[in-house]
Structures are given as structure tokens and as C-alpha cells.
Symmetry: C2
Subunit: 307 residues, 2 copies
């Protein structure tokens, strides 16, 4: 592979990713296509049966109109009915959860702005809030990562491991800690509290929230039988979970991306120039900008970390 041009290596990586994308699509198609098609057929049969039995009473299209209105409203998180007539969509805990899902880029979609003003505000809020969150995370990272490093070093130093192995072990440990504390534990709690939710579904929800994918297909429902206070506490707990979980995830990602093994992989697929200082930074220093078109030169005093 080393003999290949850099562009060929980039191309290989990109093509490999596109193939992985296609593979995932094909597998999901095989897993999900038939069940979805069956569900759709069931629904249509149910609708047809309903029409056949009671269609005589109903004016043509009345049922479709009603269903259409209900479905359109649900797409924005407005439920058509509920035993709890006081259930308000945008009560403060729900609104807080929504803004947190915006700022963490999770974006469940179980609630979404209806008005043009709301949509515009969401955009401005995200455009300002996301960079601000990045600054916050960068700041907290400077405080927390050294702590983790020292903790990890304190654990592995007695074993006299090479720096690279120690880093890998520490990253693996951090990964397991994050997975345990932020996926498994909350999933177990959720599984215990929600009666109609399997452990897999609870883990799936936690994973989806933590990775900020936020599919939003599983969320504690408005019409649940939980006491309103408990429900609101649950929403606030989810809010805290999103924020803390994202911070933990970003710290873990940072640790992962700084691993010598990962750097080596990135360097391998990247440029073929023998880079030293750029291995550390990954980006040209700002002082080189002023020098215009001069090629980047690596300071002789820096050494790349041993892989």
C-alpha cells in the first residue's frame, strides 16, 4: 500500500467507506424491509376492513382526512388525544429537553417547531449555541483529560508498559467506563422503569442518544401512566444525561483520536511526506499563514511519538 500515490490511498479509504455504507444499507434492507412491508400491509388491511364495515356511514374521504391530519400533527409531536388533558407539548421540561437535543445535535424530532418564527429561532440558536458548546467542551477538556491521563497512568505505570500500549489500555479503559456508565447503567434504569421496553430497546435508546444520532423512535411517551412529577423528573434526567453523556463521548473520542495507533493509521492513509510536527498538531500553525505560500517545515526539535 505504501507504494501507492497518496491520492490512491485517499481514494481507497473513501471507496471503502462507501462500500461500508452500501453494505449497511443492504443488511438493514434485508432485516427491516419485510417486517416494514408486512406492517404496512396489515395497516392497509385494517383500514380497508374498517372502510368496508363502516364505510356506508362515512362520507368518502372523511376518514382519510382525519387520519391525515392526525399523522401530520404527530410528525410535529402534537398528539391527537390522551387521557391526560393537561398534557402540554411545550411545558418547561419538554422545552428544555428540546433545546438540549438541539445543542447536543441529537435532534430526536419527537417535538419540532411548527411556526416559521420557531424554525428561525432554532437555526439562530443552534448557529450560536453549537460553537459556544464547542468552546465549553474544549475548556472542560483541558481540565478533565489531564485528570484522566494521570488516573490512567497511575493504573498502568506499575505494569511497566510501553507508552503506546499504555495509551491503548487507557483509551480502552476510558471507553469501557463511558460505555458502562453512560450506556449500560442508564439502560438498566430505563428498562426497570418502563414496563413496555426490552433491555435491547433501552440500550438502543441510550446508544442513540449518546452518539447524538437521536432517531427518536423510542422515547418515553406523553401518554404514559407515570405520575406527572416522575415523568418530568425523567425528562430532566434525560436532559442531564444528554449533556453529560455528550461531554463524556467527546472526551473519549479525543482520547481515541490521540492514540498512537490511530495516528499511525491516519498518517498511513494520509500524506506520504515524512511529517513530524504535523503528527502532533495535524494542522499548520497560525504563524505559517503569514509566511504565505512557503511549504510547512517541521521544527527539528519535535519528535513524533513512538508507535
Amino acid at each position: 500500500m505504501r507504494g501507492l500515490q497518496p491520492w490512491a490511498r485517499y481514494g481507497f479509504l473513501v471507496v471503502a467507506h462507501l462500500l461500508a455504507l452500501g453494505l449497511g444499507a443492504v443488511v438493514l434492507q434485508a432485516l427491516e424491509g419485510p417486517p416494514a412491508h408486512r406492517l404496512q400491509a396489515e395497516l392497509r388491511a385494517e383500514l380497508a376492513t374498517f372502510q368496508a364495515e363502516y364505510g356506508a356511514c362515512l362520507p368518502p374521504g372523511a376518514l382519510e382526512e382525519l387520519l391525515g391530519a392526525a399523522l401530520a400533527a404527530q410528525a410535529h409531536g402534537v398528539s391527537s388525544w390522551g387521557n391526560n388533558s393537561e398534557a402540554r407539548n411545550w411545558d418547561l421540561p419538554s422545552a428544555l429537553l428540546f433545546t438540549a437535543s438541539i445543542l447536543t445535535t441529537t435532534g430526536y424530532g419527537h417535538m419540532a417547531p411548527l411556526t416559521a418564527g420557531g424554525k428561525a429561532f432554532c437555526m439562530v440558536y443552534a448557529a450560536l449555541g453549537l460553537p459556544a458548546s464547542l468552546v465549553l467542551v474544549a475548556t472542560l477538556r483541558r481540565c478533565l483529560l489531564p485528570m484522566f491521563s494521570r488516573l490512567g497512568a497511575w493504573v498502568v505505570v506499575p505494569w511497566q508498559l510501553a507508552p503506546a500500549r499504555a495509551a491503548l489500555l487507557q483509551a480502552a479503559g476510558l471507553g469501557l467506563l463511558v460505555a458502562g456508565t453512560f450506556v449500560l447503567l442508564p439502560a438498566l434504569v430505563l428498562w426497570g422503569l418502563q414496563d413496555n421496553c426490552s433491555l435491547l430497546e433501552a440500550i438502543y435508546f441510550c446508544f442513540s442518544s449518546l452518539s447524538t444520532i437521536g432517531l427518536g423512535d423510542l422515547l418515553p411517551s406523553h401518554g404514559s401512566s407515570l405520575h406527572p412529577v416522575i415523568y418530568h423528573l425523567g425528562q430532566l434526567a434525560l436532559l442531564g444525561y444528554l449533556l453529560l453523556g455528550l461531554l463524556a463521548m467527546l472526551l473519549a473520542m479525543e482520547t481515541f483520536s490521540e492514540l498512537p495507533q490511530v495516528r499511525a493509521m491516519v498518517k498511513f492513509f494520509g500524506s506520504s511526506d515524512p511529517l513530524t510536527a504535523e503528527d502532533q498538531d495535524g494542522i499548520l500553525g497560525q504563524d505559517e499563514l503569514a509566511l504565505g505560500t512557503l511549504p510547512p517545515t517541521a521544527p527539528a526539535s519535535e519528535q513524533a511519538p513512538a508507535c
Copy 2:
């Protein structure tokens, strides 16, 4: 502020963010609460009217059961009806779009796995695919960012600006380029193609996709009147948009976070130690891990960029 303990400064930043979260929630509550409540009331009235007019024909609960089934299916992206009876949920373009929304962590949620196997596969796929995507982006970054830096430098060098101002100008330029190419232009195209979509909604959709928030409340619908081939091309275009857009966003974020002004802000809120080398890297080098609990020392040869 400089006189405050580091912890006080962290605390200030965190509290400021929580206040911003609350502020966003309150504003959205004011903007969206009444319209959502009104829509809910309208729907309930419609349902009540329907029941009153035709309730005599229908057995009690039959309508609620039908509506409930339809709404539950829609939560997983299965539509109850459609003129296009060949509309398959998990056809290849849709499945590709779904896997892309997973890998970019956008997670629209307009489609979601129904089966336990599908859910488990999504988690494994994301757990493996997201780190791989990070490696890909890091690799492409090494190739693309120097190109942008040289381009930007070529533009600003004639103006003889200080490095910090040049960096700010370059970052602003990159931001505008990304916003123009990846938000405004696609939004205009979408606005032109979709007849029931305002320009604001198109911009809102592009912004939501690009930032990976992915609320999923606005998506080209299955039941649209577009020719199937055009619809599938649109899905593939959206797929490409998600992938390229995310790459552009991450590059822009990287440029933003490397700005001297941002570093100064992070340094200001961060530790009070006079850091020099850490300003460049933001993280302890791996070689310091092996040295265990020794405090980080900055190599004397490196200089922090002038702010």
C-alpha cells in the same frame, strides 16, 4: 475574572450554558407552546366531531384503535396508505439514506428499525462506523486543510495582515463558503423543486441536516408527486449532501477551533497555568503518559501564536 479560581471560571461557563439552555427553552415555549396547543385542540375537536357524527355506526374504541395503529406505525416510518402502492420503505436509496443518517449521526428518524435484529445491527454498525468515519475525516483533513490554508493565505497575504487577523478572516471566509455552498445553495434548489416548501423551511432543513441535528420533521415525503426516478435521485443527492456537508462542517469547525481568538477564550476560561506548548496541542503528549505523574512541561523551543 482573572483573579478568580479556575474552578470558578469553569463554573461560570457551565452556569452560563445552562442559563442559555433555559433561555432557549423559554423562548421556544413562548413561540411554540400556543400554536401546538391550538393544533392539538383543533385535532381533538375534529375527532370529537367525527365521533359525534358517525359514532353511532362505529363500535366504541374502533376509531381510536385504528388511529393508534396508524400513528404507531408512522413513528417507525411506515405509512398507512399512499397512492403509490409500490412505495417500499426499505428500498435501496431509502436504506442508503438511513445508513448515511446513522454514520453522520444526523438520525432523522423518519425511518427506524422495527425488529430487534435491526436495532442491534444499527448499534453495532454505528459503534464500528463512527470511529471509522472519524479516521476518514482526520485523513481527509490532513489533505484538505493545508489546501484551504494556502488558498486563504494567498488571498490575505497581499493585505499584509497580522497572523491572527488573517486567521480570523480566513475562518470567516471558510464559514461563509460552507454556509453558501452547503446551506443556501441546496436550500434554493430544494425550494425550487418542492412546491409546498417555503425558503425558510428549505434553509431550516439544510441547516438541520448539516449540523447533524436531524430533527426529521421536514423530509421529502414518500407520497410526493415526483416521478419515482427523480425521487430516488433526490434521495441519493441528499445522501451525498449529508456526507460532503458533514466533512465541510468538520473542516470549518477545525479551522474555527484553531483560531487564536478561540484558543485565547478557551485558555482564559481554562487553567490559570501559563501554558505554551499546550496551547498548540490542547492535550498532553503520549510520551508524558509513560512518565506517570510528572507535571506537563512545555518544550522551550515552541512559541504560542501571538494573539
